[in-house]
Symmetry: C2
Subunit: 327 residues, 2 copies
């Protein structure tokens, strides 16, 4: 198992990225290919304790930034760490790729360079929502507009992911909607509902509201990427507001600080699931090889989680196959 790492992607690259690799290396037997500025990566590696033999370095002089236009960056920054990493994956020089860089660029690059899996009309971004139980949101932002056929495919690849990665035998799938009744939503939700009801092998439970999803209504929820992005950002934004209000309450005086000291460990553990950077990464679904996007603000721990997830993703029986266009 060899994991390809875009060592220059993300807000805290390369230090935290490389440290995340070192953390993951200490917990698995995987080999790593780190792509980026050799000098900078070497320095970070040297600070680590792990044996240097499991790390291969591949030079890439450029970096795709968070501000870059995704498609333009993939097409013009051919020597960026992200593009080089994607090319290594496409050429079979590794089993999975992890990057904390520009999401749009990574997605465009995965589609253009690694290619979609056979039969997949559109790839999508999957993201685990911090509800009562893990629920995979597909699409979390890649496809602004979709068709009912795409939603049907999202249900299939999302179910496959939750089955293989989380051991859920028969994942319950819902369509994100503004009500549970059959006629709710736009033509998209109504037509997708018809398809999913007729689709054997999909455990379709009907329409679900965003609040029900958070309360554990299903294992996979499908929607267009625009709505998925709003769902995710609304949830993240609300979580952030509440956690910052909590912080304010606790930091007010000696007594409130004492109160926090009494529950600190429990509180941190309990609130972890509402911290997006704790979730490892977002798998790209429908790409012919495993690509995992770590949160842009990943620290070493978050990036380590993303790597461990990518390893399980690559080991899974999830249908990766020859790229669509055979290139």
């Amino acid at each position: 198992m060899r994991i390809i790492i875009d060592a220059m992607g993300g807000d805290n690259a390369p230090q935290e990225i490389v440290q995340g690799v070192l953390n993951a290396a200490s917990k698995t037997d995987a080999l790593f290919t780190l792509v980026g500025e050799r000098e900078a990566i070497s320095q970070c590696l040297a600070h680590g304790a792990a044996g240097i033999t499991r790390f291969e370095l591949v030079d890439a002089e450029h970096v795709i930034t968070m501000e870059d236009d995704p498609l333009t960056a993939i097409r013009t920054k051919r020597h960026s760490s992200m593009v080089v990493a994607l090319e290594l994956l496409a050429e079979g020089e590794g089993d999975a790729l992890v990057s904390a860089g520009n999401t749009g660029a990574l997605f465009s690059g995965a589609t253009l360079i690694v290619k979609r899996a056979n039969g997949i009309k559109r790839a999508a971004i999957g993201t685990l929502l911090p509800g009562v139980k893990p629920c995979l949101l597909v699409d979390a932002g890649a496809n602004v507009t979709v068709t009912e056929e795409y939603l049907e495919q999202f249900a299939v690849i999302g179910s496959s992911y939750m089955r293989e990665m989380y051991g859920i035998a028969n994942p319950e799938v819902g369509i994100l909607n503004n009500g549970t009744e059959e006629g709710k939503g736009t033509a998209l939700q109504i037509e997708a509902g018809k398809r999913l009801r007729a689709h054997e092998g999909i455990n379709f439970i009907g329409n679900v509201e965003a609040s029900a999803v958070m309360a554990g209504a299903c294992d996979v929820v499908v929607c267009d990427g625009f709505t998925g992005n709003v769902f995710l950002k609304a949830s993240e934004g609300t979580g952030k507001q509440i956690l910052s209000s909590l912080k304010e309450v606790y930091s007010e005086n000696l007594i409130t600080r004492l109160s926090y000291a009494l529950v600190r460990t429990r509180m941190r553990k309990s609130m972890k699931r509402f911290d997006p950077s704790e979730h490892g990464g977002s798998p790209f679904l429908g790409i012919s090889k495993p690509v995992v996007k770590a949160h842009g603000s990943s620290d070493a721990v978050a990036f380590e989680h993303a790597i461990l997830q990518a390893i399980r993703y690559a080991e899974s029986r999830i249908g990766f196959d020859t790229p669509k266009s055979g290139s």
Copy 2:
């Protein structure tokens, strides 16, 4: 000032609704018309301390339930408390209407019976989001699909509401989108952006992501009702999950309960804004007279807030005018 109350709408009607009216009556000079089952309402009123002279009762034998199909209910349940209340408002028998009943039915009824204000293409539901500062989400769920012209009007009526109700001189307006760049989103967001940029009198700040909205990016955020519903429910659902996790942490043992006791008052106050039932109600915008929807699960305090909001709404200089079709 006379406020018309749908006394039978909501999960806790009529007890909590009538108690909410009694609470509000003790804080204002307003008169109230309570519509519903005379016997039931009288009993609830008799339990209250306030003088009975300010309350007029109007009989209505039916109730529109949360399960009723909105349009069908408005058309067929002509003797329901909601329809009778809407008719009283339309006929000028009161200055504003408050209901905790079926949102879809109340909205359809407001449009069909009270009518839209002159020049308004589509009315919308406004809801205050519990972010860093109050931000009005328009549309929170009434119009599943919209045009760029509707979004432009939502910006106008939303700005007017925040100006008059919250004293914000020049409300900042954003378009809910999956990124801040100008070309983001679907044709709807792009075209609406062009209109709002060209619209003098609107303080348009561009595209905003849901997380930025929660962090206080703007005073008004416009979107279609489908996306608005997902935003609202995702935020409510996440809030609920976090608050229930907090509760779990605190209820674990003696020490955690002691910890809670030390911050209880502060904590309750701080977490209030994430409780949807605390926000009073959602104003219907673009209807020719003030209609306020209280949360379905409103208790007396929440319903009181919704009434006080309706009074301020009716007192405001927000452009209510002759109904569109002049009926």
